[in-house]
């Protein structure tokens, strides 16, 4: 497959912001020693070269479909970009930072570099913005609070998952033993509170969401990640289906119970012999 590389290098050199750059050690493919390289993260692309001033790039890693994990390594402050848990023969890139703060900072940046993260975030703010504008023009005196919709809660969940690390930042199957992370204020997501003004009852939006990768459960296969390629209509449709199903089940449950009660009532309360 041909990757039109000039387009990528042009994107790198244009004036859009660099999301993160710095030295990292990268484990070679054939030569298994770690090599020091200058990495530049822009959007969902991780470029690397020998030195910051170099014009020639050694390579680029497209950061879609990978999870960022802490890993066991001879190197300190190591982490990896894992593209496949399911034996598709995809690569794992092993990287190491110079110190713990850098390791933390890079992991955080790489975790949220993917396209869908930004896409969800934008969609969420867009909703807030539109809601706000409606309120601004309505005659009701609404509290000007941030309305947190279902997408926001879902996003908040995934961000909290990113930000609070049990013993690893892995969003994948199981939990590896190994280093625990000292959470500093940067990694703590403030608790999300649903303000009373929020029209939706909190009960209707359970914290367990269909689209959040469970931290203690198996990673859903790549095809199920809501991330790649899901358009707004699909997302909402799915979300609607999911909650609709729950409501239907609850209703069926209730109806069944009601039946049961009626049946019991047919018996006389007093035994007339």
């Amino acid at each position: 497959m041909k990757l039109h590389k000039k387009i990528l290098t042009h994107y790198l050199s244009c004036n859009s912001p660099v999301d993160k750059e710095g030295y990292l050690y990268k484990k070679g493919e054939r030569n298994t020693s770690y090599q020091k390289r200058w990495f530049v993260l822009k959007g969902n692309l991780l470029f690397y070269k020998d030195r910051p001033g170099d014009r020639d790039l050694i390579g680029v890693i497209v950061l879609e479909g990978c999870s960022v994990q802490l890993c066991e390594s001879e190197e300190q402050f190591a982490f990896s970009l894992v593209f496949s848990e399911t034996g598709l023969g995809l690569r794992t890139y092993k990287l190491a930072a110079e110190d713990q703060p850098n390791q933390e900072s890079w992991i955080k940046a790489l975790l949220s570099a993917n396209h869908s993260f930004l896409s969800l975030l934008v969609r969420d703010l867009e909703k807030q913005y539109e809601e706000m504008r409606r309120e601004a023009y309505s005659s009701d005196t609404y509290q000007r609070s941030t309305v947190i919709g279902p997408d926001a809660e879902r996003l908040a969940q995934s961000l909290i998952t990113i930000n609070s690390s049990p013993s690893s930042l892995k969003l994948g199957p199981g939990l590896r033993e190994g280093r625990s992370y000292s959470t500093n204020h940067l990694l703590q997501a403030p608790p999300i509170s649903s303000k009373p003004v929020c029209k939706r009852s909190p009960k209707l939006w359970p914290k367990r969401n269909a689209h959040v990768t469970p931290i203690n459960g198996p990673t859903p296969p790549l095809g199920e990640w809501p991330l790649v390629g899901s358009g707004p209509l699909e997302d909402f449709g799915e979300l609607h289906e999911h909650y609709g199903k729950e409501v239907k089940e609850l209703r069926a449950d209730w109806l069944q119970r009601k039946q049961g009660e009626e049946d019991n009532q047919e018996e006389d309360l007093i035994d007339f012999g």
Binding site: H4, S16, D19, G43, H115, L118, V122, A189, G229
Partner: protein, 155 residues
């Protein structure tokens, strides 16, 4: 320049926002229109020979200009080279417009700009920074003055 080809090919197989058979013509003189399965996944445009599993190529949809060329065709120009365009022929006006819309909105940088716009507006209207609830207010990539042109100056 090396790149993670296998992983990119795997990405091309993911569910896509938009995929269709279109007529596609390369930017070079002498390139002709060929039927290709064109597939939009995140900010990449993949193109396949019909019924082939592996894409022929991948175009990153950043720093590009998408233009309507005709009733049913659009073009994408990269590298600020306005004359070197990829041409895409659709089956209908509607399809053409939908493709243009999708491609523009697929760009990472386009999303970033929108994010900053909404953030700024919400902050202006409510006094609150909407990114604070996610603990990402400080990130440089979401700052208004991080080397970006202000939205209002965009054509």
């Amino acid at each position: 320049m090396r790149f993670n080809e296998k992983e990119l090919v795997s990405l091309s197989r993911q569910p896509s926002q938009r995929a269709a058979e279109l007529g596609m013509k390369g930017p070079k003189k002498g390139d002709v229109v060929k039927k290709r399965l064109v597939k939009l996944v995140v900010n990449f445009l993949f193109y396949f020979r019909t019924d082939e599993e592996e894409p022929l190529g991948a175009l990153l949809l950043e720093q590009c200009r998408v233009e309507r060329e005709d009733d049913q065709a659009f073009s994408i120009a990269f590298l600020d080279e306005a004359e070197r365009k990829y041409l895409f022929e659709c089956d209908s006006q509607e399809q053409c417009l939908e493709w243009i819309d999708s491609i523009v909105k697929a760009s990472y940088e386009f999303m970033r700009k929108n994010l900053i716009f909404y953030r700024t507006e919400i902050h202006r209207m409510t006094g609150k920074d909407p990114l604070e609830q996610y603990g990402i207010s400080d990130e440089t990539r979401f700052q208004v003055n991080s080397g970006l042109q202000p939205i209002t100056k965009e054509a």
